[in-house]
């Protein structure tokens, strides 16, 4: 009964909205010309990167905070139920089973390639599609592969070093966002230095995002508390 009601409501909603969209006139305002005007001083040549790290860079700053919060939540959820007040415990016991040799070989082969490809994608982001997030996703995928090859262990909680590395990109971003406050607005880069600052932010973010994204997986992979 509830199912029928929900399905009917969803179908009615979709029909109503699609009907309204079919004769929706063109948007009143167009940001494309505005963005095109801003491009020369944005510090990058690729418009999506300009929006992501310059005109709406503040969104991205908060978005990284959301990722860190998710990582924290995963750390909370993977804490063992019997956890005592011992903040020092970091790594899970090593995994007993050995990896498939094929997977190991593949991981050793792919990882350097992934690093090179990630650096390329990061660098390309200034001119064409690509950037920090995509590069980080590639690195994270490599890390997950290394985990399957039993080279990178799963963690119960990230160690101090890992935490610093995971936060470093966010910290760099935060510092670069705060610096212009001395004379202007949050994240207002001087146009001459914009390109360099964006590259600095993106480089930091690539490393940190890769660790956070891989962390979401590696913390989960260590089954919390085991199955009772």
């Amino acid at each position: 009964m509830k199912r029928l009601a929900v399905l009917t409501a969803a179908a009615a909603f979709a029909a109503l909205l699609i009907g309204a969209l079919l004769d929706l006139p063109a948007a009143t305002l167009d940001l494309r010309p505005l963005l095109a005007e801003a491009m020369p001083v944005s510090g990058v040549a690729h418009p999506v990167t300009a929006v992501l790290l310059n005109t709406r860079g503040y969104d991205t700053l908060l978005e990284i905070a959301v990722l860190l919060v998710a990582l924290l939540g995963v750390v909370v959820a993977s804490a063992r139920a019997d956890v005592t007040g011992d903040p020092g415990r970091t790594l899970a016991p090593p995994v007993a089973t050995s990896a498939d040799p094929m997977v190991s070989a593949l991981a050793r082969l792919v990882t350097p390639l992934a690093v090179i490809f990630a650096i390329y994608v990061l660098w390309a982001g200034a001119h064409r599609p690509g950037g920090a997030f995509q590069a980080a996703a590639i690195l994270a995928a490599a890390l997950v592969l290394l985990h399957f090859a039993r080279i990178v262990p799963a963690c119960a909680a990230p160690s101090r070093g890992l935490r610093i590395a995971a936060v470093a990109g966010f910290a760099i971003f935060l510092a670069i966002a705060a610096l212009p406050l001395a004379g202007g607005a949050l994240l207002q880069y001087p146009p001459a230095a914009a390109g360099l600052l964006i590259l600095a932010i993106e480089s930091g973010l690539t490393v940190s995002l890769a660790l956070v994204l891989a962390g979401l997986f590696l913390l989960l992979a260590d089954d919390p508390g085991g199955r009772r």
């Binding site: 599609p129 590639i138 994270a140 994204l213």
Partner: protein, 92 residues
């Protein structure tokens, strides 16, 4: 109707079918598989929408990382994929 539009129509249909399958198929494993297919089709849709950045991110994250996360969670929740049948019944 141009060929490009016909392709879009086909892609949209497949997208909806993959989503429906992911939501309704009784076996959870197939459902997750349908979701990964859905992610790849989404990446294709982003290419058609002139958004290669999103396509790259969607393929790497939407289909790749989320897929791995989901399959790993499924394995942890339901034991080895081999004994899926009894658990899958409970899933419904």
């Amino acid at each position: 109707m141009s060929a490009a539009f016909a392709f879009d129509l086909l892609l949209v249909t497949l997208l909806l079918l993959a989503a429906l399958r992911a939501l309704t198929t009784p076996r959870l494993g197939q459902s997750l598989l349908a979701f990964v297919v859905f992610g790849l089709l989404m990446a294709l849709a982003w290419v058609r929408l002139d958004a290669p950045d999103i396509a790259l991110a969607e393929a790497a994250v939407g289909a790749g990382l989320s897929g791995v996360l989901l399959f790993d969670a499924w394995r942890a929740l339901c034991g080895e994929p081999a004994d899926e049948a009894p658990t899958a019944e409970r899933m419904r």
